[in-house]
């Protein structure tokens, strides 16, 4: 249990992924397949976001620093050069130390992945609608049997 708990979200990601995959492959209804696909894609988002989590970290926005313009001003005055160097050093310290911040990159990547997921979902739903208009059903087996019936009719004619 000690081994499993810290990796809880990774286990959840695998469970969700398998659920989605099972839905896409085994479910006969097209809409259920699409739901499976959405779960599958969402599980990947969970995985990526989990990799950026850090205990006690803040959001990746710089804190405790002065505006860049004031630096230029201070440096140009000259006699306060020592202070300026000091303040630049503190800024650099805060900016560079990544241990305080969550890794923003997986979040950014997942923003893109969410967009891709929405696009795929939209196309899949549109296709399901088209299939329904054409065959009057969303059950895979019924559609396939209709297609086979059409094919054998073509062979006869």
């Amino acid at each position: 249990m000690d081994l499993l708990l810290p990796k809880f979200n990774y286990i959840l990601y695998v469970v969700l992924m398998m659920t989605g995959l099972w839905g896409m492959i085994a479910k006969p209804n097209l809409i259920k397949k699409i739901i499976g696909m959405a779960i599958f894609q969402t599980s990947l988002i969970l995985f990526f976001i989990s990799t950026s989590v850090k205990r006690g970290a803040t959001i990746p926005i710089l804190e405790h620093h002065s505006e860049p313009e004031s630096h230029a001003h201070v440096v140009s005055v000259g006699d306060q050069l020592g202070d300026a160097v000091h303040s630049v050093a503190t800024v650099a310290q805060h900016a560079v130390d990544p241990a305080h911040y969550m890794n923003p990159l997986p979040h950014v990547l997942m923003l893109t992945a969410i967009v891709v997921g929405v696009g795929t979902l939209g196309v899949a739903l549109a296709l399901a609608q088209l299939v329904y208009k054409q065959y009057g059903t969303l059950e895979e087996e019924d559609i396939i049997s209709q297609i086979e019936a059409d094919a054998s009719q073509e062979d006869e004619s």
Partner: protein, 505 residues
């Protein structure tokens, strides 16, 4: 030749970005202009693809002259920013994509006009976006950017396939399901690589993975990425979606999708095998290599046998594509220099062959109304130009010199011999023989078999050729099959040999 050449200034330095950006923006222009002036859509599409083609030719020349070119998107230096990189592996693939799409859009004008009474600009917008996706996949040097572009090309191809006839919508739906699984597997692999290395740039990944060869995460990343690309390219037994999707699409769309989609997926596989994971890692596990080679052999045999069973030309060609994917995967996993040369050369030659055959079949079904074998008799007299091009394409698929199909098979076979992969060699020869049976059966039917017109034998067959706008590009592609074959030595010496990484036997 191996040093990297970062271009400093001038418009030439923007070429790698222009290749992708021109068709991308042209897609929006076509959508906007086509809304009010529908007839200008095709003209704008041709202009966009022509400019992109010229840019890709420019990239190829720069690469041949100066070596690999690196382009920093928006000026951000890699590994932080997205890097576009043209090197010896992808310069030719870029030219193949732009030239195939340009020829195919020029060729298919009449077909599009017949298929789409209104709203033609939708077709052309999707077409340009698909080309953008394929070009982006080829040129990008960023593993996540590649995923996004894979999805762009996949989404547009779903829509293009769904525009087709009969059960096209259902075939496209099945393709969405399997395609999403493929792309997500790739994304999982990239996620594992990112967790272990903290980078997404391919060159950077190569450097960092070198120390992590024993890591289990890297191994599972490799397996996931390979599975993803295999699903995308339709390697047996993951090929189920391919024949339906490609044969149900409209001819205007399948002339673009069939030659390019699988070839670009093979390119992704090569790029990740050679650049990211490096051959020393990929080929270190002999059992896995044997397994993949066996899969490729089965793909070739099953694809060829299934092709033999078909009674419609287009469907037959889709099963030949399944076999050709087996050629390329097998060639890559022979782990020899000649095998890899064969794969890289085959990406070019197979794209040209498939384009030629799909165009020929599109012309036949455009003039005759269908593409089943019963339209064949008398076709050589009715459509001599089309059938001449069809014959050249068929010879190339069989592997008769001096067509390019012969040379790619030559390299693949020598790769098989170097690797002592006798089953792969046997499969290649078997597939050639099956193709020979397949096409000589068609040629015999079209050439010799008498035409039965209403019970009585027709004495005079009138020539009934397709318009020049269709036959000219077709004949051009057929001639280029021979030209590529004749120039094989030059192509391999000037470009492909530098793409083979060091340390491959």
């Amino acid at each position: 030749m191996n040093h990297e050449w970062v271009m400093q200034s001038g418009w030439i330095s923007q070429l790698p970005a222009l290749v992708v950006i021109i068709p991308f923006f042209m897609a929006f222009i076509v959508a906007l202009v086509g809304w009010s002036h529908e007839d200008r859509a095709i003209f704008l599409t041709e202009i966009g693809l022509l400019l992109s083609f010229l840019a890709s030719i420019g990239c190829l020349f720069v690469v041949v002259e100066h070596g690999p070119v690196s382009y920093r998107m928006a000026g951000w230096a890699p590994p932080m920013g997205i890097e576009y990189r043209v090197d010896f592996l992808n310069a030719l693939v870029l030219v193949v994509i732009t030239s195939c799409s340009l020829i195919s859009v020029f060729f298919s004008k009449a077909i599009v006009q017949r298929d789409f009474r209104t709203r033609k600009e939708h077709f052309y917008t999707l077409y340009l976006l698909l080309v953008t996706g394929l070009l982006g996949i080829t040129i990008t040097h960023d593993a996540f950017n590649l995923y996004v572009l894979v999805e762009i090309s996949a989404l547009t191809s779903y829509a293009l396939i769904a525009m087709g006839r009969g059960r096209a919508a259902f075939s496209a739906f099945q393709y969405v399901m399997i395609g999403t699984i493929g792309a997500c597997f790739y994304l999982i692999g990239v996620g594992y690589l990112y967790v272990k290395t903290g980078t997404l740039n391919m060159s950077d990944l190569q450097l960092l993975i070198a120390d992590l060869h024993d890591s289990r995460a890297i191994k599972s990343a490799f397996v996931f990425i390979m599975l993803g690309t295999w699903i995308k390219m339709g390697l047996f037994p993951l090929h189920g979606w391919l024949p339906n999707a490609y044969s149900d699409a409209k001819d205007s769309a399948s002339c673009l999708i069939a030659p390019l989609m699988t070839k670009v997926s093979v390119y992704i596989m090569l790029r990740l095998m050679l650049t990211v994971f490096t051959p020393s890692y990929v080929f270190s596990n002999a059992i896995a290599g044997e397994l993949v080679l066996a899969l490729a052999v089965v793909a070739i045999v099953v694809g060829s046998l299934k092709a033999l069973k078909q009674t419609s030309l287009k469907r037959m060609l889709t099963y030949i594509i399944v076999a050709e994917v087996g050629y390329m995967v097998g060639g890559a996993w022979t782990a020899t220099a000649s095998g890899l040369t064969g794969v890289m050369y085959h990406i070019i030659s197979d794209a040209a062959m498939t384009l030629c055959m799909f165009m020929a079949v599109a012309v036949i079904s455009f003039k005759r109304g269908r593409d089943t074998f019963d339209v064949l008799p008398g076709l050589y007299k009715r459509m001599p130009l089309t059938m001449a091009a069809f014959t050249v394409g068929a010879f190339s698929l069989i592997g008769i010199p001096p067509t390019c199909g012969f040379f790619s098979k030559w390299y693949l076979l020598s790769g098989a011999i170097d690797a002592h992969a006798w089953h792969y060699m046997a499969a290649l020869i078997f597939s050639s023989l099956v193709n020979a049976v397949l096409f000589f059966r068609i040629i015999e039917k079209a050439f010799i078999e008498p035409v039965h017109a209403a019970g009585a034998e027709a004495t005079v067959i009138e020539m009934d050729e397709a318009p020049l706008r269709m036959t000219l590009p077709l004949v051009f592609v057929a001639i280029s099959l021979i030209a590529i074959g004749v120039c094989t030595n030059y192509i391999v010496r000037a470009v492909i040999q530098y793409a083979i990484p060091e340390g491959v036997g």
